[in-house]
Amino acid sequence: MSSAQIEIQLIASLVAVACAIPGVFLVLRKMAMISDAISHSILPGIVVGFFITQDLNSPLLIILAAITGVITVVIVEYIQRTGLVKEDTAIGLVFPVLFSIGVIMIAKNANDVHLDVDAVLLGELAFAPFDRLEISGVDVGPKSLWIIGFILVLTLILLTAFFKELKLSTFDKGLAATLGFSPALIHYGLMTVSSVTTVGAFDAVGAILVVALMIAPAAAAYLLTTDLKQMLVLSVLFGVFSAISGYWLAHWLDASIAGSITTMLGLLFLIVYLFAPSKGIIAVMYREKQQRTEVSLLTFLLHLKNHDEVNERHVNHLYEHINWQKVRAKNVLELALKNNMILIDKDVVSLTKKGEEFTSKAIDYIITNEDSQIEDMKDDFFLFRG
């Protein structure tokens, strides 16, 4: 690996981490789309800053762009508060306007400088190592590495200091307000951090990837854990993994780095979405199938409990009486046998003691809906979970 390659991967990874942290809170606050709005509408801020400083990495440019980001949020919220349009509509109205102002400004004034719409949308990570930061003549590394590094350190300090406040106001805004933690202050703090991070990451990865880096790792982590700290850690790991594997994918395909990282993020989310142990689509489908079987089992056991007549309990009669197809009836019969809940004697089915107890307990639970009755059954039966 050349040092430029290492530097690119390092920048991509730091960007991923810096994006993943505010991303977790945006996802939990159901504000994923606001990051899309911010990433596009900071463009006029960047362009104006660029005209003033002629330097894409100037702090003034970052500040101006971050301010544009926060203004976007304010305008969206203002439009939404009028009650005339919904939030997603408000977002869809605001950011294209600001973005197009930026596009027109670039087209009118910046035709011959290093700032074009392609770079804005997709970033130019490959060129990042060429723009060096020199301190009294000594090369200390790429400028974008220092910028995103600084933003990341700032984000980490804020996260550590205000973790409790962020968690509280994200979970329960009302309680946060009554306890004296102004939800508005925390909200705009988060919006400012998101805007600053977006600007810092923008130059390296572009407007589209910033959104992907904020949302996809958090969305994937959300499906895997029930703990906020773990969710943060997982999001960071997912982000870094996608950044590095995306870089090598681009290397291999000789394609855009930003595009490849986004592809990896998409794939990663898809895998988690399918295979997450309890919230993944396969797990959910499996659980639903189990629940259907268990309901059938219970129906069947209840039928046995309610009928003493031999003809009602004959194996062949069961198909007709409970109106099931043969396969399903066979499955249920086998499940009940396996759990020692029934006995079959000369094709006549009867409940065992265990089956009898289970049925009464389950019916009791369904009627009274009292939790204590069912706690010890939860491990064996999906039906009684969640």
């Binding site: 409790k164 406040e165 009302g174 004296g180 854990t225 029930t226 906020l228 809906n369």
Partner: protein, 245 residues
Amino acid sequence: MKQHIAVQIDDLTVAYDYKPVLWDIDLEIPEGVLMAIVGPNGAGKSTLIKAVLGILKPIAGSVSIYGKSYDKQRSLVAYVPQKGSVDWDFPTTALDVVMMGTYGSLGWIKRPRQKQKKAALEALEKVGMLPFKNRQISQLSGGQQQRVFLARALVQDASIYFMDEPFQGVDATTEIAIINILKELRKAGKTVVVVHHDLQTVPEYFDWVTFLNVKKIATGPVKDIFNDDNLTKTYGINYKVSIQE
């Protein structure tokens, strides 16, 4: 004997988008009562609580808690919001939610420590939820979630408790458990104000009641003012409840 006034509300008017939902409310809540706020849907019951707690800004009027503004008396007040006001899929546990009740006394930046954790565990114990302390909150039943919310308020160790429909969507066991805790709070000299829907249980659960429908209709001891006359005034139609003997 002169009773202390826990909460004093003067000329309170609250509006959403310039449409008043509470008109000129004057209300005194005496210390140590267990009060129900009743009224039809849209009467402004939740709004009243939110305005007292500073979550909503009134367009007129003032609220004082033991003679001072809410901002100065935060630590005396605990609030149980409606269960539906939060996202129960949030990645956190029952214990962690209860710990949030201690954040107010901690203030900004400081982290909860062993002392806060101990208080939270005690509160969980009180509401019978200790065995579920590490369970993710979406894995709790509606009644259990409500108990966790109650524990979160208990951990604040406040003097005044505001609760927004704590009995909504809970099973009978939880309802009894909750009302017993509320009665214990009153016994300990606390003031408890509950937005309540079920008129049948008002005489059994509460000793004080406020009828509200945009304006205040009546307030006072249940035995004096919980009658068909006030119910009709509040609910508009000829309302009759058969009060249990």
